[in-house]
């Protein structure tokens, strides 16, 4: 079994389909990024969505564009194109794939973020909390 992972770089990445690509036994999975938790007693971030496709027919030697979402740059994770396979980020609908799992919703104010979908899903960030501290100078 051959496995490749692509992580967030903030830019599109190119993957060349290998000569031993097997169109009858493959699985491509996209995990959307989790959302940041809001500051100052705001809401926590939702978990990223998940989308996958199996036995996808690709031409060996061809180039495929991949974008891995980060909350600061772009929340969606895209394989090839937004109509081929895409896992949207937290709280965003519109994932594309044969299997789609939604990420966990925001937990609300002052709570932990939602869990990411799938086994490696991007979790949402916890909400920020406010605090006071009195110091006598």
């Amino acid at each position: 079994m051959a496995v490749s992972y692509f992580y967030a770089t903030g830019a599109y990445q190119t993957w060349t389909v290998p000569n031993d690509w097997n169109p009858t036994n493959n699985k491509i999975e996209c995990y959307g990024a989790g959302g940041d938790g809001a500051a100052y007693s705001g809401r926590s971030g939702g978990g990223g969505n998940y989308a996958s496709i199996s036995n996808f027919n690709l031409t060996p030697g061809s180039n495929v564009s991949i974008f891995v979402g980060t909350v600061d740059v772009y929340v969606n994770t895209i394989f090839s194109s937004t109509t081929t396979l895409m896992a949207t980020g937290a709280a965003l609908a519109g994932s594309v794939g044969t299997t789609i799992l939604p990420g966990g919703a925001s937990g609300g104010t002052d709570t932990a973020g939602g869990a990411g979908a799938g086994p490696l899903g991007g979790a949402g960030g916890a909400a920020g909390v406010s605090s006071t501290n009195t110091v006598y100078h």
């Binding site: 992972y5 031993d20 491509i28 995990y31 100052y40 909350v71 899903g121 960030g125």
Partner: protein
């Protein structure tokens, strides 16, 4: 001004007295927060933790060299169609009878190819091979095809008297 995500120092700025104030046992995981000092009280407005980044995972079982298990039939004439049974008939590039490409071929599935026997004036026996993007099938006794050199049509005659 802000809260260092990895530590606990608040750098007070606007608002009240300002200056550096240390907050004990305060810890954030994630982004930086804001803060300000007013009088003797430090107000910490914590940022939310950063969400986890996404990921793309590509998993597949690599294609390997094709193998031939059988030819059916393994004897015949140019123009005949034979069925090649084997494995890894994926991304097939060529089917050859010896060094001569098949007149045509159709990959039925990853274990079966239908091929038309090409002309071969030399006749005799040749090894059939299948080539995919990874490799060419190795020679085995099961891939030998024998050209027939003459033929006749069986039939019958009706004699009416």
């Amino acid at each position: 001004m802000g809260v260092d995500a990895s530590g606990g120092s608040v750098y007070g700025g606007g608002g009240g007295s300002g200056g550096l104030t240390t907050v004990i046992n305060y810890y954030y995981v994630g982004g930086k927060g804001g803060g300000y000092v007013q009088g003797n009280t430090t107000y910490i407005t914590g940022a939310g933790a950063a969400g986890a980044a996404g990921l793309v995972s590509i998993t597949y079982t690599p294609v390997t060299a094709p193998t031939i298990i059988s030819l059916s039939p393994n004897i015949g004439y140019s123009g005949n169609t034979i069925i090649i049974t084997g494995t890894q008939f994926i991304n097939v590039q060529n089917v050859n009878f010896g060094v001569i490409p098949a007149s045509s071929y159709t990959v039925t599935n990853s274990t079966s190819i239908s091929a038309t026997v090409p002309n071969n004036v030399a006749g005799g026996s040749v090894n059939v091979n299948v080539q995919n993007l990874v490799a060419t099938s190795s020679l085995v006794s099961q891939d030998v095809f024998t050209y027939q050199t003459s033929s006749y049509s069986a039939g019958f005659m009706n004699f009416a008297f």
